[in-house]
């Protein structure tokens, strides 16, 4: 069973910067066509320099092989090319150069709940979503009861999903995806959504899939999950393979490099240009800590993040979401902002996120910040997610009044503020 099922050779994907940043309009295209004869008069060297400056390789010279039954993690910072690679292998986008061969039935999960429509019932959405993921009607029919049972929504299966709570919505969406049983599975950061119980379930399911001898390619920011599930890992950096091999070694290489990268201001706009396909309704431009230094966060400090976001469309009801992760990517905690904001199309606004004293223990952390909309009825819909940003180090707390200043790793991430004991009569 050592045969190669995925062979990737010199795969590359080039994007033209600027060209796709705004929606193309016919006028621009006409202007370019009219300007073309002039461009031809330029000397060849001019032209090359010109194009080199305006294009960027989201993926370059990527080659690897995957054997049957292997579970491979793909890790890397934002904009490293992970999603681009997965999208090419899923055939959502085409490569610019190179080629890949995939042998076996392919299932790809770039998100859960693709094609869900709020007006349709759970039953109807199950069929629609299953069909979009590539299941046949007879397979969906056969597994239907199983899907519904796994999602635990038997009573509501004939209710339009717009009345579902976000938890029900995600459970159903994931359950459909979990019953897709391909030979080769490509999974993007689907684990980043949902609550902890849901994430556990995803992990468990992924483990099942792996044990059944299926081949899995798995993009994640959760190093713990990658270490747990994957035999080997590919580390991408700026579109190139930086390391490939045993997952634990690859992870420690990646973590070592990513702590070097810790920076004060995160410019996401620059990174996003790598993937012009994504044009969220509201997107992050920059993120930075406010009032604290990321390298030295006092143990009892309030975390304050300043964000610049741009509305690409007018949105009247968006909120912010934040998760804190430990250095290995395991989630520490999450919170949704209670406030609802609105933004005009084209407006750039600054916002502040404040997390009053999260009581973190000493150690290195990072954040996922998301902007989205949603309520219990429709489920949450994220417009833009900045994953693995805002790295910071929490210092030891001051050793005052008996507070523990030494912290052992197996004590967890949260230093509970109070423990009250009283003698009972």
């Amino acid at each position: 069973m050592n045969d190669v099922v995925i062979r990737v050779e010199n795969l590359g994907k080039r994007y033209h910067i600027g060209e796709h940043v705004a929606y193309l309009t016919l006028r621009d295209a006409l202007a370019r066509v009219l300007a073309a004869p002039l461009r031809n008069f330029q000397s060849p060297s001019d032209t090359t320099r010109d194009t080199e400056a305006s294009e960027i390789w989201a993926l370059r010279d990527v080659s690897f092989e995957v054997r049957r039954g292997e579970v491979i993690g793909i890790i890397g910072a934002n904009g490293a090319g992970k999603s681009t690679l997965l999208k090419i292998l899923s055939r959502v986008i085409k490569p610019t150069v190179g080629h890949a061969q995939i042998r076996g039935r392919l299932g790809s999960l770039l998100e859960v709940g693709t094609g869900f429509h709020p007006e349709l019932t759970g039953r109807e959405n199950t069929f629609m979503n299953g069909a979009i993921l590539g299941m046949r009607k007879r397979d969906i029919l056969r597994k239907f009861d199983e899907i519904v049972a796994f999602a635990e929504i038997e009573k509501f299966i004939d209710t339009p999903v717009k009345y579902y709570s976000s938890g029900m919505y995600v459970r159903l969406a994931f359950s459909v995806a979990a019953h897709l049983e391909p030979e080769i599975l490509l999974v993007d950061e689907v684990l980043a959504v949902g609550d902890v119980a849901f994430q556990k379930r995803c992990l468990g399911r992924m483990g099942d899939v792996a044990r059944q001898g299926r081949t899995v390619l798995f993009v994640s920011h959760n190093m713990g999950a990658v270490a747990l599930l994957c035999n080997s890992a590919i580390v991408l950096e700026r579109g190139r393979i930086q390391a490939i091999g045993d997952s634990r070694q690859a992870i420690s290489k990646y973590l070592a490099r990513s702590s070097e990268r810790a920076q004060e201001v995160y410019n996401l706009e620059e990174q996003r240009r790598l993937d012009p396909a994504s044009r969220p309704e509201v997107e992050f431009l920059t993120l930075e800590f406010e009032g604290i230094s990321a390298k030295l966060v006092p143990a009892d400090a309030d975390l304050s993040v300043r964000m610049k976001v741009r509305g690409n469309e007018a949105v009247s009801n968006f909120s912010f979401y934040l998760s804190i992760l430990a250095a290995d990517g395991s989630p520490v905690g999450s919170c949704s902002g209670a406030q609802v904001h609105s933004i005009q199309a084209g407006e750039v606004g600054s916002y502040r996120l404040q997390l009053p004293n999260p009581s973190l223990a000493r150690g290195s952390y990072r954040m996922h910040v998301a902007v989205g909309a949603g309520n219990e009825r429709t489920g949450f819909r994220m417009f833009d997610t900045a994953a693995d940003v805002l790295h910071f180090d929490v210092m030891a707390p001051p050793g005052q009044d008996g507070t523990i200043s030494e912290w052992q790793k197996n004590w967890g991430f949260i230093r509970f503020r109070n423990l009250i004991s009283a003698k009972c009569d």
Binding site: Y15, H20, Y23, L24, T25, L26, R27, A29, K87, I88, L89, S90, R91, V92, I93, K94, P95, V97, G98, H99, A100, Q101, I102, R103, G104, R105, L106, G107, S108, L110, E111, T114, G115, H117, E119, L120, E124, F127, M128, A131, I132, G134, M135, R136, K137, D139, K143, E146, A178, H179, L180, E181, P182, E183, R205, D208, Q212, P276, A277, S278
Partner: protein, 284 residues
């Protein structure tokens, strides 16, 4: 979980080759056929969603052509004295508006088919051609309902479809092909240039004036009729009217011109759409 269950059959071939886009007309009809169930689901979903959360539901399929028919009959017929031959105004306008309403709707759905599904297009692979192809189908339901309403109107004027009604399916097919052929170009352009979105209502409006909806094709001077007939909807609407009412048989020229024109535009549209397909997920 069902570790021992048979794996779901993903409608993919055993080996997938991924390579940069190439060629102009490499449509994989076999692949399209493998994905036919998904097309069915797209159609099914469009029909399901169409009248959800509307007050009068499918009655909209009746209201629109009937109301337009009444207005046209009064304005262009009784006031404008349009020479509609033997046909009473309501019959003339209804029989023109039925195919026109379907066509205008289908053209718009095909044009918007890719952009509307951009969320799916950027996440899952399937032959993109499924979207425009399945977008011409749902409107047929409204069309059929309209047809049922039309029959009593026809009978009220003591008209009965003759043998000509047997050609009706041909005209419907021709009409679907017309909507698809032009829509393919517009759908691909729409995902690249949002201008198309603004262009569509305008195109539909002008196109109606260039088609024999309001007036009979015989109003166009004989020597220009070949040019006029290059608009496939001329053949479709004239043929449609004739097949239901038995009067005003179109010359053989019109349907032949229409079919030829549509085939050319359709082949071009398929090639263009395929060509653009590789760019679409990058930019929508």
């Amino acid at each position: 979980m069902s570790a021992n269950s048979v794996p779901a059959s993903i409608p993919d071939s055993a080996q997938i080759d991924i390579a940069p886009p190439s060629g102009w007309l490499d449509i994989e009809f076999r692949e399209l056929w493998r994905y036919r169930e998904l097309a069915y689901f797209f159609v099914w979903r469009a029909i399901k969603i169409r009248y959800k959360q509307t007050l009068i539901g499918a009655a909209w399929a009746v209201v629109q052509p009937v109301a337009t028919m009444l207005v046209f009959s009064v304005i262009f017929g009784y006031l404008g004295k349009m020479p509609t031959g033997k046909l009473p105004y309501p019959v003339f306008y209804f029989s023109g508006l039925l195919p026109w309403t379907y066509f205008a709707g289908a053209l718009q759905s095909v044009t918007n088919s890719v952009v509307e599904q951009q969320h799916v297009v950027t996440k899952v692979y399937f032959p993109r051609l499924l979207l425009p192809i399945s977008a011409v189908i749902p409107g047929l339901l409204d069309f059929a309902i309209g047809l049922l309403v039309f029959l009593p109107v026809l009978f009220a004027y003591h008209l009965v479809p003759g043998m000509a009604v047997l050609t009706l399916p041909l005209y419907i097919l021709l009409e679907m092909a017309t909507a698809l052929s032009v829509g393919l170009w517009l759908a691909a352009l729409n995902s690249l240039y949002r201008d198309v979105h603004h262009l569509i209502p305008f195109v539909v409006q002008l196109w109606m004036l260039l088609s024999p909806v309001v007036y009979p094709a015989t109003l166009v001077p004989e020597r220009w009729r070949w040019l006029y007939g290059l608009n496939p909807m001329v053949g479709v609407i004239e043929g449609f009217r004739w097949s239901l009412t038995g009067s005003g048989q179109p010359s053989n020229l019109l349907p032949a011109l229409a079919t030829g024109g549509v085939l050319v535009v359709l082949l071009g549209g398929l090639a263009f759409f395929r060509r653009m397909e590789s760019v679409i997920a990058d930019v929508v």
